[in-house]
Symmetry: C2
Subunit: 201 residues, 2 copies
């Protein structure tokens, strides 16, 4: 398998993290923003939606979208609950992550850390993203209060997926993570999983 | 089952459409923007992420996020492919819909049709959304060129989910749908499915 992966992106990191947790290997092709490698991958037709991550299977089939790749790789593993309702709940968190959480938590970090996004980082935009991101993080905090994992009694793709951008929300996005003790305990729980690998690991 | 549903929203409509296609019934609770009904649903705690649609099961369990609800309702039906790779591809389109397509196609329609969003409908924003939405629609057009359905050889949740906002993209969002003949043929194919129901149906 080959993984087109953006080193700095939480969406790509989720996939690398799951591969590590599963003890599986893939050839990693780095496609960072504004590099020739990303431009080449785009013109090669290997990025159907124009962005990383994309998984290329041994037989050449191509799968885009981080959370779809997680679902494919985790098929039959402990990261997908057997109970159908828990599976649906897991998907709720994963769709919410792509539709809501990424749009505040990841976008604020991107505006603050990517030079090519800096012109969009107006004080008004940063303030609005801070408020919205804190509201999204509070939803996670409330959910995690008194429980170890987002869904059911065990770690699932919901946790892996939301870990991607949440674990750097303070450092990169400027969110006030000391407000969220249940999230911090959950982050530590994920970092303690066997074979865990960090963003730069 | 009860469905908290926003009559004007493509995300809520997707669920109503799938219920109709499956021949299943749910009590529909209308929660339109800026109505008491939506405010009551929010304070009742029945909308975990603060938005519709939400499905409430007979036993009281609550499931938010349109595409997770689709997955739950379609379990074991013809709308979810049996092949694991096709299932993963179906999820790719569904995550892309929530992460990319909704943010252009649905947002432009919302800015043009909801009075409380009108102040955000600046000429610059509308122009940017038009360009981005056309690019997203072109990805669908290219995919559907020479094929009947987005994934595999049969209708799946990928089609139901993307139909939600695409079928009103011209009328509500001002997108130039005559550019996209393969999308128009696909829209007609969905509208011809047995038990099909329109947005206001």
């Amino acid at each position: 398998m080959k993984l087109y992966s953006m080193p700095s992106s939480g969406n790509s990191y989720k996939v690398r993290l799951l591969l590590a947790l599963l003890g599986r290997e893939a050839e990693i092709i780095d496609t960072e923003y504004q590099t020739d490698s990303l431009a080449e991958a785009k013109t090669s037709g290997q990025l159907p939606f124009g962005k990383a991550p994309v998984l290329v299977l041994e037989d050449g089939r191509v799968l885009p979208e981080s959370n779809a790749i997680l679902s494919w790789l985790a098929e039959g593993s402990r990261f997908i609950p057997e109970d159908p309702f828990l599976r649906a709940e897991m998907l709720s968190w994963m769709f919410w992550e792509q539709n809501q959480h990424e749009g505040s938590v990841a976008v604020r970090a991107a505006l603050l850390t990517y030079p090519h996004r800096r012109s969009q980082a107006t004080p008004e935009r940063l303030a609005e993203l801070l408020e919205r991101g804190h509201a999204h993080l509070l939803m996670m905090e409330n959910r995690l209060h008194g429980r170890d994992w987002l869904v059911g009694e065990a770690v699932s793709l919901a946790d892996i997926c939301l870990y991607g951008y949440t674990h750097t929300a303070g450092e990169k996005g400027g969110f006030e993570m000391q407000r969220f003790p249940a999230i911090n305990a959950w982050l530590a729980r994920i970092a303690a999983l066997p074979r865990y690998k960090g963003l730069d690991g």
